[in-house]
């Protein structure tokens, strides 16, 4: 009967995820300084060398080389740069569009809201990856196409959640006061509503980083991302796929990088949300 009373412990700081994220960010930022070789130079006589710790590997190429003799490690480092850049762009644009749509739909209401929400429903019912593939066929591969494609993936979930927030914010007193003062609707949306939903917005961003990274990798793998020879992790896996039997490192190593990155981002994001406000966890 008299056992020790249980008091909640605070979650421990996730050091390993933070370390992994830091490493990858540093790789992305300082790629030219860190990469031992250029990621696109081909050295055909050195092709398909295994990583340094395996038999046949050489110290020159720590993670081995691919079918064109390109250093895997260098490509990995530069690939981090591309992946993160796409992620940042896509989250900004996609998140931004979703934020704007959510605020307008939530605040203006009425017919505008109905139409916008029907669009959101359609976006949800229908997987955007397919639209992304269509775009890559019509618009050609490239960074722009990729960012637009991932934006299509993201905007709807942002819009829906933000709209919910705005609906409840709209009822609050400070909004009524602003209207009484004669503020125009755009002004209210910008100066009153927007700052109050930024919290939720940041949470949504952290939730979606992993999604974006995997989306970019998948599109690259399917040949709808940034065209070669620019190294992206998804493309590297696609290129290595054919030689899986005799050169597994070409395809498998980039995947480990992706997995570690997304895992770390998710675990870190969870911890961050728990610290900031456990209520946000339900998102």
């Amino acid at each position: 009967m008299g056992s020790k009373a249980r008091v909640r412990r605070t979650a421990r700081v996730p050091w390993i995820p933070i370390a992994i994220i830091s490493v990858i960010v540093i790789m992305a930022l300082f790629a030219p300084l860190l990469a031992p070789y250029s990621p696109i130079d081909q050295t055909l006589r050195d092709k398909l060398l295994p990583p340094a710790w395996m038999t046949g590997g050489s110290d020159k190429y720590f993670l081995g080389t691919d079918a064109f003799g390109r250093d895997i490690l260098s490509r990995l480092i530069y690939g981090a740069r591309v992946s993160l850049m796409v992620a940042v762009l896509a989250l900004t644009v996609g998140g931004g569009v979703g934020l704007a749509v959510g605020i307008v739909a939530g605040y203006v209401g009425g017919a505008v809201d109905s139409v916008l929400m029907r669009l959101v429903d359609a976006a949800f019912t229908f997987p955007a990856i397919l639209f992304a593939l269509l775009l890559s066929v019509t618009m050609g591969q490239g960074l722009g196409t990729l960012v637009i494609a991932i934006t299509l993936l993201l905007w709807a979930s942002f819009a829906r959640v933000i709209r919910g927030e705005v609906l409840s914010l709209r009822q609050r007193d400070f909004v009524a006061l602003a209207r009484v003062r004669g503020c125009s609707a755009p002004r209210i949306m910008l100066t009153h509503i927007l700052p109050n939903v930024l919290n939720t917005f940041m949470v949504l961003v952290t939730l979606n980083i992993g999604v974006v990274i995997i989306a970019e990798a998948t599109l690259s793998f399917l040949g709808a991302g940034i065209p070669p020879p620019t190294p992206t992790w998804g493309l590297m896996i696609s290129e290595g796929r054919g030689r899986i039997a005799d050169a597994w490192w070409v395809a498998l190593i980039p995947g480990i990088a992706i997995t570690l990155m997304v895992l770390s981002v998710n675990l870190f994001g969870d911890w961050l949300r728990d610290r900031l406000d456990p209520r946000l966890r339900q998102l």
Partner: protein, 305 residues
């Protein structure tokens, strides 16, 4: 209940029209598929010929009218590469994909639901976090990479399983695992939160007052209620599974609609791609409707309303 079904059918039809329209205009307004399909040294005549074949000449609204007219008759275009009506190509391969999906969902549930129950029972403890990490792992691994990894381990190195193509039961293992792994996290998370909520209910207290064993309280009273929200996931997941199939079938050389999509992209087969997208929408909407009906049936509060 009947009114509910009718209403959902209407909504589905509206959504479908919207999607088809968007696909149509998106395809034509964002660029010129013709340019992308032709090799660099194509002549102006080649270009004109292809444009005409694809029906991309003429004012866009005329094109739309023709498109709708044909669509109502079940003609969604002809694949350039395969020289066969897109609809036929789709339905040829559809069963192959459909056969994978239930197994993938089953895998997701068999692993995800117990993980979720365990996590809920040990909330905040080591098992909870471990279960959570396992689930997140399933989402963090890109499924195409998982497929390749599985091929490497089980086909190349161990030689236990075939590396692709359709065939006997052994051929199903890798595709199902590749397709279903990311579902585990979703099922786990929703089971966990649903269980946590249900465990606080008054009727659970009543079950304990009756003196029922803890196992019966959890597995009969709690889980049965917690499963209702889990069913809503089927609808969410169907879309993901159908797109996930693209990658899975590509990696494992499985002849389904996913692989068809990939081929359409790689070979820039614009008519086929357009048709596949519309047909997949119909597929997803239909399955969503079926899931909603099932959900309404399972919850007696809705069924008997």
């Amino acid at each position: 209940m009947k009114r509910y079904i009718a209403r959902r059918l209407m909504q589905g039809a509206v959504l479908l029209c919207m999607v088809a329209t968007i696909v149509f205009f998106l395809g034509r307004l964002t660029g010129n598929p013709v340019d992308l399909m032709l090799p660099e040294d194509a002549t102006a005549e080649d270009r004109a010929a292809l444009t005409q074949t694809l029906g991309l000449d003429g004012p866009i609204l005329d094109q739309f009218a023709i498109f709708v007219g044909k669509a109502i008759h079940g003609d969604l275009g002809t694949s350039i590469r395969m020289k066969q009506p897109a609809v036929d190509a789709f339905f040829d391969r559809l069963p192959n994909t459909l056969v994978l999906i239930p197994w993938a969902i089953l895998l997701g549930m068999l692993l995800g639901i117990p993980l979720g129950v365990v996590a809920a029972l040990h909330r905040g403890g080591l098992l909870d976090r471990a279960a959570g990490t396992v689930a997140v792992l399933g989402v963090a691994m890109p499924s195409f990479w998982l497929g390749i990894l599985l091929i490497f381990v089980f086909s190349v190195e161990l030689g236990w399983l075939p590396s692709g193509r359709m065939g006997g039961p052994a051929h199903y293992v890798l595709p199902v695992i590749t397709l279903g792994t990311f579902l585990v996290a979703g099922f786990m998370r929703i089971t966990r939160s649903a269980m946590l909520e249900v465990m606080e209910s008054e009727f659970v207290k009543l079950a304990r007052i009756k003196g029922l064993s803890e196992a019966v309280v959890i597995w009969k009273h709690c889980l049965r209620n917690a499963l209702i929200p889990v069913l809503t996931l089927w609808g969410v997941f169907v879309g993901n599974l159908i797109t996930g199939a693209i990658v899975t079938e590509t990696v494992l050389a499985w002849p389904g609609i996913g692989r068809l999509t990939y081929e359409a992209v790689i070979y820039r087969d614009f008519p086929l791609l357009q048709a596949v997208i519309i047909l997949k929408s119909i597929l997803i909407l239909s399955i969503n409707l079926a899931v909603d009906i099932l959900y309404a049936y399972v919850d007696p509060r809705i069924r008997l309303a």
